[in-house]
Symmetry: C2
Amino acid sequence: MGEINKNVDALVDEWQFSRNARELQSSIIREILKDSSKPGVINFGGGLPAPELFPVEKIRKACLDVMDKHAVSALQYGLTTGVKELRELIASRMRKQGVEVTTECIQITGGAQQGLDIVGRAFLESDSVVLTETPTYLGALQAFSFYRPKFVSVETDNDGIIPDDVEEKMKKYKPRFIYVVANFQNPTGRCISNKRREALVEIARKYRCPIIDDNPYGELRFSGQHLTPLKAIGPDIVIELGTFSKIISPGLRIGWICSQPSVQTIIERMKQACDLHSNSFTQYVIYEFAAAGHLDPHIETVRKAYSERRDFMVGMMKKHFPKGTTWTEPEGGLFLWVKVAGNLSTSAMLKDAIAAGIAYVPGKFFYSEKADDTTMRLNFCNATNANIEEGIKRLAKVIASAK
Amino acid sequence: MGEINKNVDALVDEWQFSRNARELQSSIIREILKDSSKPGVINFGGGLPAPELFPVEKIRKACLDVMDKHAVSALQYGLTTGVKELRELIASRMRKQGVEVTTECIQITGGAQQGLDIVGRAFLESDSVVLTETPTYLGALQAFSFYRPKFVSVETDNDGIIPDDVEEKMKKYKPRFIYVVANFQNPTGRCISNKRREALVEIARKYRCPIIDDNPYGELRFSGQHLTPLKAIGPDIVIELGTFSKIISPGLRIGWICSQPSVQTIIERMKQACDLHSNSFTQYVIYEFAAAGHLDPHIETVRKAYSERRDFMVGMMKKHFPKGTTWTEPEGGLFLWVKVAGNLSTSAMLKDAIAAGIAYVPGKFFYSEKADDTTMRLNFCNATNANIEEGIKRLAKVIASAK
């Protein structure tokens, strides 16, 4: 990081980059994880889904179907909003989850990450306030940061965001929006409870403050009680970001924004200025994959595999982690959240961890204010049982010997 | 447009959108061309390449090759910079054109349109000055407009941008960059001559002002003298935007930015904040299409077809257009530029034209200052000879009867 920033500083003197560009940092996770790609390092750090579960044969067949049925539309310029068949499919799936939406509310994006950028474009400018959970998704902080907002973090517990603190901060800061990951949050794996969802929507309505619900993991519930989508509770005040990255493939880069018809008018213009429209070809590939009936069975396969890996990792943690270490046991998603005992620093510990052949993301990067450096994020879904066992053993030793 | 903007205005009162979002207009071309999709309307308006030339069978084969050889990489998250094999291919093709570049200078983007947005992000903020050609590409004006720069237009003639005026305006306005389409410009079809290119680079160096050369059409030369790429003349000061949209398919949404290693550091961060990375799958599809040896023969096919259509359209214009109408005869690309006689207004005439079953884009939208409303842009590549003949006849009548 240091070296990169130094070079950039030299450049800034030479050419006139925008202030936003000069001050935007490179992704900390990507920088950290450069070291973790060394041979022999077991990596619980990244946010990658399990590649061995990619439905390769079914996607191959979907490609052929696209070329048979939609070749010209898939290869030509398309509408900014996206491929109609895919938008209809998404709207229909959301309706089954209790969200009242029409196709016109769906804007296709280049993954949910572009959804975050577009929401930032639409709402933020220098010194706008964004409320975030504590901790919150680092990638969202990075996407929004380009627009130079001020982040204010709201207290959370195991039931998610705490309504009284939301209300206090909405009153005090008049935020442009509140950003949450209501389902199996990145990084903690926690959900916002139904009761809290109701309260959050009520407060947001009172202060006319949009809720951005970033929802990449909602369909990956392994166990526990089904929760009502935030967008179903507050269709007028919630903007939901979705993606096929975790339920089919991230390389196809297809996500969506589900807003209100009136907000969609602004969203569509932002998208047009970004890149005209998303990849038509892979929009059709996802549509044909789903139309062939593969989507729900595939999600079930992924759920089952991730559920087993969560169980296995949690089992290994119980067996090997030193006393005083605690963790979340998420009912879905990809991540769990570890807290080490005392005043140990997970960021200081990372160098030893990588030397011992195990990588994670130190928790402190997921805070927009007042970081807790005793935390770390582990991805439980992208490793074999053998690697999970070995990785947790290595990590346990690193934690035990840290001071 | 009016109705949309009215609705948005109402919204702005309700929610706090960013100033940039509120003031960004929807694409004028897309609004105009909504009417032109009526049955029976011959459309010379859009910027679409000819769909009947899409190499459908070869792309289908490339999809299968991707699934055989790169399935996991094509479906997993990828590097922000892009797929290495494709970046190497692009760098190698650019070197053959005389541009000294390494793979690390190539950033993959979601079409050249995202390249424009990323360049805007990197350099522009409120009231930054951008120099543009007269006229200039409307889509670039729209992409840059989000960052609220001030556009200053530089005089041009048939040899492209006029160096003395560039120098005067660089001195006076200290622009963040100058934006040009050096090859077969959109909208005029003109090129900047070699002599002017040399002069432009020299002036840009003197004022340390980057040149953005948007180059979607460079490989589509039908006739005339080969020109040296601007990036070959000024590798230190030119940033070139490229795309596969006009030489393979726009639906695959793959373009690139070729800058300098130092500038690339900033570009990569901008890209990361936009959407992490471009579609891995279609990057590999393009790579496999090219690796199978199909790219150069396909470009030759497209060149030949477009060349014939240009000849045919120009022939029809000579035969049917009223006296006093003039036009460019481009040596490549997709567009030509018509100027009607006297004080006729092509924007006023458009309604009658669409009623007569012929659509074009009024030229006035391509000016960042002082629009010439006697001009129009015609796309000669996306129509059959029969439609070109009929369309030009209709347009000739509309021009002849306009007052």
